[in-house]
Amino acid sequence: MKRIVCLFLLLCFASVPVAFAQDGMRMAGMSHEPELGASAAFDAHGRLWLVTARDGHVLVQHSDDFGKTLSTLVEVNQTAEKIYDEGENRPRIAFGPQGQIYVTWSHPLAGPWTGYVRFVRSLDGGKHFSAPVTVNHDLAKITHRFDALAVDGHGRVVVAWVDKRDEVKAKAAGKPYLGAAIYYSWSDDDGRTFAPDRKLMEHSCECCRIALAREPNGDIAAFFRGVFGDNIRDHAFAVLRTDGKGVHPQRATFDGWKIAACPHQGPGLAIGSNGVLHGVWYEASHGPAIWYGQLDPGHPPTHVLKIGGPGAGHADVAVHDHDVWVAWNQVSAKGYQLMLRVSHDGGDAFGAPRAIADSNVAVYSPQLLVHDGRAFVAWNTANGFRLVAIGSATKDTP
């Protein structure tokens, strides 16, 4: 018996330093296998910016030759911290009207599904960044993650995220609560301070990205997966009011996909200068499907088109004048294809799908970018970042 006791104790004590070392690594946000979560955006001068994360640091790079060469990496957070940079979580980047650079990300806390939304800015063209601040004023150690970032027509910095404070409150009172909620905040002073958290909608999906786009009047609108009725995971549309007026989220897709699950696929949104709301989304009520439609909040979308079936995922949409682009990943046993469909009549009719790039290593969700009327797809891959130029409008004519 004594011998067994000794052996046990030896094993236990021998394991302790290892366990601490592993925790330390995790606390520092270290990871030996980099994740692919990345965002890219063009600034007003056509400079491409890329934001990624590695070893607990959010990293910014830029390119003046459409992604062929990238500048050296700038660490936006000096002190390493854990960063959500996989799946539907990725660091975000946006620009203010005077060239301000804004970056957000979600920072996991100790417990499962927890997080804070973090923000930094650079006022010197990306050479230096401010110390990170937490955007969410509610500091309970619960879900505040899946951040989305945009700048409105007045230069306000708008940040939206998935938030579980209402779920936690309901469950503490012994009441059921489906899903999470969408909250948002904004800054009127170039990101120095943020307004108190504001609720956009209760009963959102817990694990899907939020799509933000600017309306013709400069307001920021959101398209996101909600939970309607008994776990129906259709989408909602809402304008993120920053003028003190009430918010009016409305159901915008009506597929009726009822499921107690995490779809891990949020929608995409682009708004035309004519105010048309171009949406793409995933649902699986009759097998996996990606859809395009023009949103008519409160009613089913119009011009609905099935973009892809099995193996199609993570679509994005962009619009410029009469051109509408839809890009998505198509997976097969061989690997990934980056697929594209183009419309030249404002989304009434689309040309045939075609592959514009492929990869035999893992890729991230494609992100459509428009600069000077030309569209590009930002595609982060395990072999490096790619900016895929989409041919001129005439070449894409179906």
Binding site: L11, P112, H264, G313
Partner: protein, 156 residues
């Protein structure tokens, strides 16, 4: 009495050791044919789950209960769709859920889409996903937290 207390103390000390012995094997594209090959008897339940998915924990618990009710006819394999960068977090969550006694896999690619497709082309990646492969080669695949009726349906 003394001896019982000692055993209890030792068990407590040993818990972190046991938790860390979780065999969390990577699942690459090349491993999928073996994973989905029909078992010699009964059925294999592939419980696909993800760190982000709060519905997955009760679903895994229900599948463990089902496996314990049919230990000879149900093989349970836990497959996390998170990528290799989440290895430590997945191992920690399995330990926290008390799920260390089952074969556990973790996707070997940082984007789950390809492995999802190879496991089941009619699945868009939502979790939890329960894939049942029976000895006769038939399959049942269900997305979402299993209802009592669905749990009955997948019993051997």
């Amino acid at each position: 009495m003394m001896r019982r207390a000692l055993v209890l103390l030792l068990l407590c000390c040993a818990l972190p050791v046991l938790a860390r012995t979780t065999l969390l094997e990577p699942l690459s594209a090349a491993d999928i044919p073996a994973l989905v090959k029909p078992p010699a008897r009964g059925e294999r339940i592939i419980a696909l789950w993800a760190l982000d998915c709060a519905y997955c924990e009760p679903n895994l618990a229900a599948l463990v209960k089902l496996q314990r009710a049919h230990p000879r006819d149900v093989q349970l394999v836990l497959v996390a769709t998170d990528g290799p960068g989440q290895r430590e977090a997945v191992a920690a969550r399995l330990a926290q859920m008390g799920m260390t006694g089952y074969p556990a896999r973790l996707y070997a690619e940082p984007n789950p889409e390809r492995i999802n497709y190879l496991i089941d082309p009619d699945w868009g990646g939502e979790t939890p996903r329960t894939l049942v492969i029976r000895a006769d080669g038939t399959r049942v695949a269900i997305s979402g937290e299993l209802t009592p009726t669905q749990l009955q349906r997948i019993e051997p």
